[in-house]
């Protein structure tokens, strides 16, 4: 009986098998796929063309490879299923925050050999390399890094009279000044002065930065065991500051159960004047919401009682764990041709020129840049030279952001980072919806929860 049933099941599965399998193999070339390929979309035409150009150049130079386009771009909810199903593109990109989760789960290939061979290890910022290293092996290429800064909506600032005689904002230097400025804007324009996300971990993400400035610590390693310590008076002061934004200054957006993507939406449509974000997202204001690119200014994070902290994050390339060494080689050759390689060559320069040219033609903001991952000055100069002719915004609006003096650049908390953010999200949600909540009690509870739910299980 069992045999028969199995036979039948087999037969039917075969039927579906025919439907499922369509990958043609057996060619002589080595095939690899490149993720985050620009999608066919009106706003992406330039990027698409640029990638097509890279592809032509690559095919000419390396006929032994076949590049497959993969339109998938990293996002948390689709990553795991893709990875588990072996469907990740050979080359994919993700964020610094995801690195440890991905390497721990074994979905990234050890590419130490290639990084050595192609000169990445010698030319990259060692601080960034540290992020992708685990047990002496390297699992990714951090290709750019950013720090948090404040975004300012120039339209709203103008309306609120917050610009100086030359038309540049009077930037807030401290958290106190920031709150007051937001309040003035709210009173004059009726629009939210400041944005605070509280979902998808992004509330916690931004809150850690604020709390560092107030002198708070989050996780401490005591004799090899991690302790949650964010119920200190400093952390409470930071939470009180955030809570005051809602209940004392009344400057926040109406709906607080939202994430950072809501900030981009509200900011771009002149509904919010100031918020914390990075240069990485500048593009979306223009591409998604048709915001005027000249309407944005950025400044460094304000100073708190403990200093001027700014959180750093960034993007990293990873190679799918199931890739062969030959495929990985192809990937590194591709990175070279597409302008992400460490070498200073004409080809590299051309690829970079094309990138900035395309972004410029598209009307995106070209100018303010992320922290470069290169240490080699020639490589850095190459990038700057390629960019210079295409800068299309008033760089004075970004001067304060690009000036790192006085900044303490800090990476994210070391363990259970996403869980920490989630826990802090909950704290913020209460603090921003319940005027009677007690910051100390909230953080005490959060510390206890975080300790038992995550740190004790490390």
């Amino acid at each position: 009986m069992m045999k028969k049933v199995t036979a039948v099941i087999l037969a039917v599965c075969m039927m579906f098998g025919i439907v499922g399998c369509d990958s043609g193999t057996g060619t002589d070339t080595i095939t690899f796929s490149v993720g985050n390929w620009p999608k066919e979309h009106d706003t992406n035409k330039a990027a698409m063309e640029r990638y097509e150009n890279y592809l032509t150049a690559f095919n000419e130079k390396y006929p032994g490879y076949t590049v497959e386009k993969d339109y998938w771009a990293y996002d948390v909810s689709s990553f795991l299923p893709k990875a588990a199903g072996g469907q990740l593109p050979t080359l994919y990109n993700t964020f610094f925050t995801e690195i440890s989760k991905i390497t721990d789960a074994g979905y990234a290939k050890d590419i130490t050999k290639q990084m050595e061979e192609y000169g990445y290890l010698d030319n990259m910022n060692p601080d960034l390399l540290e992020l992708v290293e685990k047990d002496g092996k390297y699992y990714g290429i951090p290709y750019n890094a950013y720090v948090f800064g404040l975004w300012f909506n120039m339209d709203l600032l103008r309306e609120a009279g917050e610009l100086d005689e030359n038309g540049y904002p009077n930037y807030p230097e401290t958290y106190e000044e920031l709150a007051q400025m937001a309040q003035r804007i709210k009173q004059k324009t009726g629009k939210a002065g400041f944005f605070m996300p509280t979902t998808k971990g992004q509330g916690g993400w931004q809150f850690t930065n604020i709390a560092w400035a107030f002198g708070a610590k989050f996780e401490e390693n005591v004799d090899g065991e991690w302790k949650a310590v964010f119920n200190s008076p400093e952390a409470v002061a930071a939470l009180q500051w955030v809570k005051d934004l809602k209940f004392k200054y009344d400057v926040l957006q109406d709906n607080v159960l939202v994430d950072e993507s809501e900030f981009i939406k509200l900011f771009s449509t002149n509904q919010v004047a100031i918020g914390i974000d990075t240069t990485m997202r500048l593009k979306n204001t223009v591409s998604d919401y048709k915001m005027n690119k000249d309407n944005i200014a950025m400044y460094k994070m304000p100073e708190g009682p403990a200093g001027r902290y700014t959180l750093t994050g960034g993007n990293v390339y990873m190679v799918a764990a199931n890739a062969t060494d030959e495929q990985a080689d192809g990937v590194f050759k591709w990175l070279e041709v597409s302008g992400s390689g460490p070498d200073v060559t004409e080809e590299q320069k051309q690829a970079n020129i094309e990138r900035y040219k395309a972004e410029n033609e598209q009307g995106y903001i070209v100018g303010p840049s992320a922290i470069s991952s290169w240490t080699n000055p020639e490589r850095l100069a190459l990038e700057e030279e390629a960019k210079a002719p295409y800068i299309n915004v008033d760089m004075k609006l970004f001067e304060g952001y690009n000036d790192f003096s006085g900044l303490i650049i800090q990476p994210e908390e070391p363990v259970c980072t996403q869980e920490l953010y989630k826990t802090l999200d909950n704290v913020l949600q209460v603090a921003l919806t319940d005027p009677n909540s007690d910051p100390q009690a909230l953080l005490d509870q959060a510390v206890a929860d975080f300790q038992t739910n995550y740190l004790d299980k490390q």
């Binding site: 979905y107 159960l257 869980e419 999200d425 909950n426």
Partner: protein, 308 residues
């Protein structure tokens, strides 16, 4: 010689009968086979895999070792579990108040009316056709807090203060349930109505002659007629709402501070957001068990009630 021959004939006859039976059974089974396979693949096997998997340690979606009760310990000791459990019962409670009782009342009322009756029927059923995600999103927009919210504008017209709507932890579950009920009650009302229309008018007349008032008529004539449907919908409502997930996912993502997280949403988060598939399985098995217990208790009680 006669005998064996006849015996052989009988045997032959029987064999051909058996043959026909087997043949017709066989072709019937062939027609049924796709269904059986699909039910195994889609319904039965996953339940078994889920139960087995909850005792395993998972790496991604692959079992890599036996974990015993570790997943259960981890899930049950997580402080979110109690919140989610409490919330889930809260969802059920509110759904009985907001979603279960009103359709009975509405159906009784609608059954009395002669004016605009088909328009009422049409309009009440209409929200049922709005897809769940679309309905959640529409209400998400309507429940916009602050001065920009349309519902707050209406409150303002009546001189009432603005509400925080979904951001108020005490309101968030009732409002999500309301959204679900908005979609759901039309169909229940129509079902009650159909069964009310089957009531023999003479019963009411007889009751009138006996001097029964309106409430007495409802109790003795109306309710007995629809009690069957009511029981059915009661179980269905509890089982359905106990598994609530998409609506809080769309409207609040479980917030504020987990005030609207349900067992299933937590299970979803484990599986698809936190990369902890084993915990997700353990939690959904716990949910499963609670539901089975509830269902069994319900049927036991129901039996006792009907026996008395």
């Amino acid at each position: 010689m006669e005998r064996p021959r006849r015996a052989a004939g009988v045997r032959e006859q029987r064999r051909s009968h058996v043959g026909r039976l087997v043949r017709s059974n066989f072709s019937a089974w062939v027609l049924l086979l796709p269904s059986i396979l699909l039910f195994i693949i889609v319904m039965w096997r996953p339940i078994l895999v889920g139960i087995v998997g909850s005792f395993c340690q998972m790496d991604g979606y692959t079992a890599v070792g036996f974990a015993g009760l570790d997943n259960y310990k981890a899930v049950l000791s997580d402080t979110t579990f109690l919140t989610a459990l409490k919330n889930t019962f809260s969802y059920v409670f509110w759904s009985l108040v907001i979603g279960y009782l009103p359709p009975v009342i509405f159906a009784v009322m609608l059954n009395e009316l002669v004016h605009w009756k088909s328009f009422f029927k049409f309009s009440i059923y209409f929200p049922t056709m709005v897809p769940a995600v679309a309905a959640s999103l529409i209400w998400y927009f309507l429940f916009q807090p602050g001065e920009g919210g349309i519902l707050n504008m209406f409150l303002g017209l009546f001189g009432l203060p603005s509400s925080q709507w979904l951001q108020n932890p005490n309101l968030t579950i009732p409002l999500i349930v309301f959204t679900m009920a908005w979609r759901g009650f039309g169909s229940s009302t129509i079902m009650y109505l159909a069964s009310l229309q089957g009531v023999n008018g003479e019963l009411y007349e007889a009751a009138t002659v006996d001097g029964a008032g309106m409430f007495s008529k409802i109790r003795h004539v109306t309710l007995p007629q629809i009690s069957g449907v009511m029981l059915l919908l009661f179980v269905k409502q509890i089982i359905g709402v106990f598994q609530v997930m998409v609506e809080p996912m769309t409207m609040t993502d479980g917030g504020p501070n987990n005030a609207s997280i349900s067992l299933n949403l937590q299970s979803y988060n484990y599986a698809f957001n936190y990369f902890q598939v084993d915990k997700s399985l353990a939690l959904s098995v716990v949910t499963f068990l609670i539901l089975i217990v509830l269902t069994v208790v319900y049927f036991k009680l129901n039996k006792r009630v009907s026996e008395n």
